[in-house]
């Protein structure tokens, strides 16, 4: 079947299998940041935004996304450079092997959109959606809190 949707700001018309999820579909389109960690909804490495909310791409039927706007980590950096979440992750050492990073960024993007000033506990709760086997989560949590602060400053100025 054919679906129309928007992926990272670009209108896309594509053929999908009716039982296919967003994970293989988006990777086929070239979005290599959408990682296949478990294909089981456990690890969060495939997190993308569907109409602004972060979901597990491996559990979201591609056909359900018809008419939706999908955002992957590939769209985070803009003409002004890296997104504050990316800058903070690099500056604070939140990226080690990097496999879980795109998913963490997308989960954090959703969190900060609805809660611009989260507590550390809230950030920890949200990042429980994303497995990270390298960092022990300490640095990603610090990076999200730092990015939140950067985003609030941007908003205020």
């Amino acid at each position: 079947m054919k679906i129309d949707l928007t992926v990272d700001g670009m209108a896309v018309t594509a053929e999908v299998d009716p039982g296919e999820t967003l994970l293989p579909f988006l990777r086929r389109l070239g979005a290599a940041s959408v990682k296949n960690g478990c294909d089981n909804g456990d690890c969060g490495a495939c997190a993308v935004l569907v109409d602004g909310r972060a979901v597990n791409a491996c559990l979201f039927f591609a056909a359900k996304a018809a008419g939706s706007e999908i955002t992957t980590a590939e769209a985070l950096a803009g003409a002004d450079g890296l997104h504050p979440l990316q800058t903070a992750s690099l500056d604070l050492g939140a990226v080690q092997c990097g496999f879980c990073t795109p998913g963490i960024l997308m989960t954090a993007l959703d969190l900060l959109a609805y809660n611009p000033d989260p507590t550390e506990e809230e950030v920890r709760h949200w990042l429980a959606a994303n497995y990270c086997r390298c960092t022990g989560w300490v640095k990603p949590v610090e990076a999200v809190l730092a990015a939140a602060s950067m985003l609030r400053e941007q908003e205020a100025s």
Partner: protein
């Protein structure tokens, strides 16, 4: 996980068309998170309910109507529902999967699967109703009736869940026990208490779930609570009654272990309800 063997994806514009598709064997899709992992073998057609205008929360003096396609996040982020009866809904929903799952999983999809649920005990404890659509049209019933009478085994579509307005001076609490945070509960429970003007209990619902059955009321405990003051002795009596429920054994726990957990779950629920009612 992509599901192999699916040949048809339907996106009907009316409930009748959706129901007809389901009657012909298509499986309804809410958020699809559970189907993507657990679609029954041999499933060939899926019917997406997204165009049926079932994503809503409507509040009124009578309470709330929650459309079946509302996500679990949608319930948690609705200010009225989030604060209802002292915050029992977010207190429970935060344990279901992760934010990523709750952003996709829907209320209707969760209830239709009717297994391993923290949500069902809370909805029964707060007196929720459910509306279904089938060949007889639309009808509403208490959520506990829906499961008791096995309506869910018939061919139907869930359209909405209703949550009645809170009784005067009332609060609810939820407690679960699981081995690890993300594990499904070994036992869970939810309790709603409403007080009369003299401070005695005028409304009580005591529910235990994963016993290992889906959430069920404990009528003896509710009866005992009525007319009493929510003090330490009454809490102990409620715990004692809850522990007399028929518990079952499965791979998660023995009946005996669940009996001990029921005491602990009931105590935590009642203590938190008492705190919320400011009677302790």
């Amino acid at each position: 996980m992509s599901v192999s063997g699916i040949t048809t994806w339907l996106r009907p514009a009316t409930l009748t068309e959706a129901f007809d598709a389901v009657r012909e064997g298509a499986l309804p899709v809410g958020g699809g998170t559970d189907l993507a992992l657990h679609a029954p073998r041999g499933t060939t057609a899926l019917v997406d309910l997204v165009d049926l205008d079932l994503d809503f929360v409507i509040s009124s003096d009578d309470g709330y109507r929650i459309g079946a396609m509302t996500t679990l996040t949608g319930v948690m982020e609705h200010p009225g529902l989030a604060a209802h009866l002292g915050g029992v809904l977010p207190e429970m929903l935060i344990h279901i999967g992760s934010p990523l799952l709750r952003n996709a999983a829907t209320v209707g999809g969760h209830l239709a699967r009717a297994r391993l649920s923290d949500f069902v005990p809370v909805l029964i404890a707060i007196g929720a109703g459910i509306t279904v659509f089938d060949s007889r049209g639309t009808r509403s019933m208490e959520l506990e009736t829906y499961y008791e009478r096995n309506v869910f085994e018939t061919t139907h579509l869930i359209t909405e869940v209703s949550v009645p307005a809170a009784p005067p001076r009332s609060a609810a609490a939820f407690q679960r026990f699981s081995v690890k945070g993300f594990d499904i509960a070994t036992l869970n429970g939810a309790i709603t208490i409403g007080l009369a003007e003299d401070g005695t209990v005028a409304h009580a619902r005591v529910v235990l779930g994963e016993t290992p059955r889906l959430g069920e009321r404990v009528p003896d405990a509710e009866q005992m609570l009525l007319g009493r003051v929510l003090e330490a002795e009454v809490i102990e009596e409620t715990i004692a009654i809850a522990a007399t429920e028929p518990f079952g054994s499965d791979s998660r726990a023995s009946a005996e272990y669940r009996r001990d957990l029921a005491r602990w779950v009931t105590r935590h629920c009642l203590q938190r309800v008492a705190q919320r009612l400011e009677v302790v």
